[in-house]
Amino acid sequence: MTAVEQPETPLGHGNMRRKEDARFIRGRGTYVDDVTLPGMLHGAVLRSPYAHARIVSIDTSAAQAHPKVRAVITGETLAGLNLAWMPTLSHDVQAVLATDKVRFQGQEVAFVVAEDRYSARDALELIDVDYEALPPVIDARQALAEDAPVIRDDLEGRTDNHIFDWESGDAAATDDVFASAEVVAAQDMLYPRVHPAPLETCGAVADMDAVTGKLTVWTTTQAPHAHRTIYALVAGLPEHKIRIISPDIGGGFGNKVGIYPGYVCAVVGSIVTGKPVKWVEDRSENLMSTSFARDYHMHGEIAATKDGRILGLRVNVLADHGAFNGTAQPTKFPAGFFGVFTGSYDLEAAHCSVTGVYTNKAPGGVAYACSFRITEAVYLVERLVDVLAFDLGMDPAELRMKNLLRPEQFPYRSKTGWEYDSGDYPTALRAALDLADYPALRAEQALKRERGEQMGIGVAFFTEAVGAGPRKHMDILGLGMADGAELRVHPTGKAVLRLSCQTQGQGHETTFAQIVGEELGISPDDIDVVHGDTDQTPFGLGTYGSRSTPVSGAAAAVVARKVRERARIVASAMLEVSADDLEWEKGRWFVRGDVEAGRTIQEIALAAHSDLELPEGVEGHLDATCVYNPPNLTYPFGAYVCVVDVDADTGQVTVRRFVAVDDCGVRINPMIVEGQVHGGLADGVGMALMQVMAFDEDGNHLGGSFMDYLLPTSMECPSWELGETVTPSPHHPIGAKGIGESATVGSPAAVVNAVVDALRPFGVRHADMPLTPAAVWSAAQGTPLRTDLAIT
């Protein structure tokens, strides 16, 4: 990591410190839990201790009698309001408070509203629930067994735990390629269930004003507008009477896309008591009940020639979706964008099939910076390429170089139908190998192996598909994935940009001001970015899947260009020339051929609000709005090299070096981009080496606190070595691609490849994440662990 000098504020793109940091560093942010309203009450959720049980009865009388309790809400109360169940983002339903059965440990059973947080929590212990335990379905691989208990007997006619089958690619063509291939390598692999674990847990303050009929909800959401519409549809409240405010958010990573039962309970609590109600979950509740990520049991096969030309990929996935299908993804993509599993390689045919199943675990599935499951896809293909290299005895970097898409193939239509917008893959891989000094690393490894020391070098290449998305293909619950933007330029030339997406730490208040600054030549310091309040911002689908810069960023550029064109007309009136005779240079319009005769954007803004006579049909002011419907996704990519040292006797892994070359197209604020990469790499190290939510046979969650669910610390992270290439997106107004998830997507494979490479002397070809010391040692002994189950 290099120290960053305090840069001057650039007039547009370039390094500048984040505008929002002043309040965060001073502890002056406003998070949901900081919101305190007069008369506010506090809610707490009673949760199921069982993974699967029938509710025989619920006795709330003792809790009701608690002197500080104002309301106790159960599934029965909600059923009376037709709110016991709510739709999920994947066209399933989810219990708000359980009425018939509980289906995962930690499921919401009752909600207490009390005068303070302590009393609400105390009262939970006074609720007596009589459960009749049922056998749970914990191992996803047993979910479709003949005799598996049926979890979703609430759904008409359900006789098994099957949710969906989905496929992509050409099965017949793929089978043909495999039938005639010289080499086929196959590998089972698990991308275990992990959790985004944002530092701020989820919560809401709901305030129903009985007089105006207006509901205001301060809530931890990455998608405030989508939440507003869903509340309107679910609760039957008129949408103009709902205001969702997403204040400062302490990390989202996909955890805060959906609507949780606790939010709905807070709203109902406020309606029932007539007072504002705050509900903020604790750490264990967050880990045990909110959106998890991954949980893909994958079987991959790769076909190739003997000399390492990759021909095809064939993949079967068993997807554990938990008790309710609550993944957040575009409707037509039940497996997210897993279809991009052909990755960065030029091959002849590919096919995958994905089967989704219910288990007695929390719902979720698409979260944790996964770009709608591209994390799983990249991990799969990058592990398969290494498995092939292992079988062929080839160098994994060389094997990749041989098969990467070539620059002249772009725009490239993949065998599963995705149109990659731009890329120069060999240059990026070469840059990473150079930065790492790959040949020297291999030489060092050979020397160490002679001495019996285990060192591993892992290479991974990834292609992402982000910025969902074109509305004709992509919607969530029928809401198309286009984003609005509004730009107001005040008379003095200062501006306010209003965005639909919501920052959770990505630095939007800085980056988006820079986008507008670049287009208009107004200093980003003079541009305020307003977001996270549905009453103040135009509609849009929110921040996740690395979509803010590809979609809302494009909207910001487009709306700024609209303002620039309005300014041109005003300038033409000011200069008394035809608008066609004006030329733009950053910050001013001037008369073609007479550079001196011009007007700055600030001068123009004042004139636009003055008594200046404007041409017929021009209204004055410079303000503009737009809606940006992306023509395609953007396809960031990168090449990563990880170096590890492994103590084979104890199984301990040390990540010694990590080289990351990322290409996200044009970099608006390179410093923020690097920050995003740093965070994502740390995430990747965490997933590869320590993070997992395993369950015992009774369905007990074995990662319900930060003592058990391990997040990486700076001690596990090397000093990141970053590089970059820049291949602009041809269809994005400023050539930018998303960067928020690149490193999380690309790094786990690099770390695992490195550890497996270190274990080569033990004949290890694959080992599942997380590669804890026990998992590494067990793999080296030839007795790999099932990391999703309790270790016995």
Partner: protein
């Protein structure tokens, strides 16, 4: 936010006051020292004491000193102070080794030596370290003071000989010529041990005159490996014998499978860590006694 159940809070101003409070509130009261074990359990409502007796003001329990050739460590000495104490480091480097890998600086700034031992978590590092060096626990009550060897301090997981109404006030270790070390395998910095081992040894005329081996998170009775110690004592400090001692320790401990690893792995770690930590202690001994090594 996790919130504890209701409790009463009393702040002790002296050891005597603390003992009076303990007597007054009885078995349902708990001493709070650093609070880094007790408070998390209270927040999860696994512990619901009726009263907390805060001993953090008892400066007399927060000192490290040498009295009559005995290292005396007050029960309220913070992890961070044990870690940075030159006095402790000079005589028993095992403590600095262990402290360096206990939790993180935030926890070490508050957590105490006495709290660690009284918590008696099978994964507590200091329990094994004190067991290895054969320390003694000084326990005080209204009736007076008694001293218990650390090797007899633990009754079972989370259970010690400290009775209601008693306070652990000090830990003592006789200073003698010795070398010691501690090694731990963890899944991540700040994590509790997957397994750990501590060793203390003294050589005389080329044979091990004294050997102490502590084991953490391995289900060793009272945190030490007596069979391996017995095997080593009286014989030379060779690689082969260290490896054999490791195997003996592995056979006699009782690790249980959990998310940190299966039993076989933990037994393997017992053997590996005992072997390795003995070698580190031997290297330190040789560094202190170059003339003996030459002999």
């Amino acid at each position: 936010m996790q919130v504890p159940a209701q409790f009463r809070y009393e702040k002790a101003s002296s050891v005597e006051h603390a003992l009076t409070l303990l007597d007054r509130f009885g078995a349902e009261s708990r001493v709070v020292a650093g609070g880094h074990s007790l408070i998390p359990m209270m927040k999860l409502r696994l512990a619901q004491p009726e009263a907390l007796i805060d001993i953090n003001d008892l400066d007399e329990l927060a000192t490290i000193s040498v009295e009559q050739s005995t290292l005396c460590i007050g029960a309220l000495v913070r992890h961070t102070d044990l870690l940075s104490s030159a006095l402790v480091g000079e005589h028993f480097p095992i403590f600095a080794d262990a402290e360096r890998v206990i939790a993180d600086p935030v926890v070490r700034n508050r957590g105490t030596v006495g709290g660690s031992l009284c918590q008696a978590d099978p994964s507590e590092d200091l329990s094994a370290a004190f067991a290895a060096v054969r320390g003694e626990a000084v326990i005080q009550s209204a009736d007076g003071v008694r001293t218990v060897p650390v090797r007899e301090f633990f009754v079972g997981p989370y259970q010690t000989v400290v009775e209601p109404g008693e306070l652990l006030v000090q830990l003592r270790v006789p200073i003698r010529s010795s070398a010691s070390a501690y090694l731990k395998v963890e899944r991540r910095a700040g994590d509790w041990a997957v397994a750990a081992a501590g060793a203390e040894l003294r050589l005389a005329d080329g044979v091990l005159a004294e050997t102490g081996i502590g084991l953490t998170a391995l289900g060793a009775p009272n945190f030490h490996a007596s069979e391996a110690e017995d095997f080593l004592t009286g014989g030379p400090a060779t690689d082969e014998r260290f490896a054999e001692a490791g195997r003996i320790a592995a056979r006699h401990c009782n690790p249980i499978a959990d998310q940190r690893g299966p039993e076989a792995y933990k037994r393997h770690l017992a053997a590996t860590l005992v072997d390795r930590v003995l070698r580190v202690a031997r290297t330190r001994w040789n560094g202190l006694h170059p003339e003996e090594e030459a002999r």
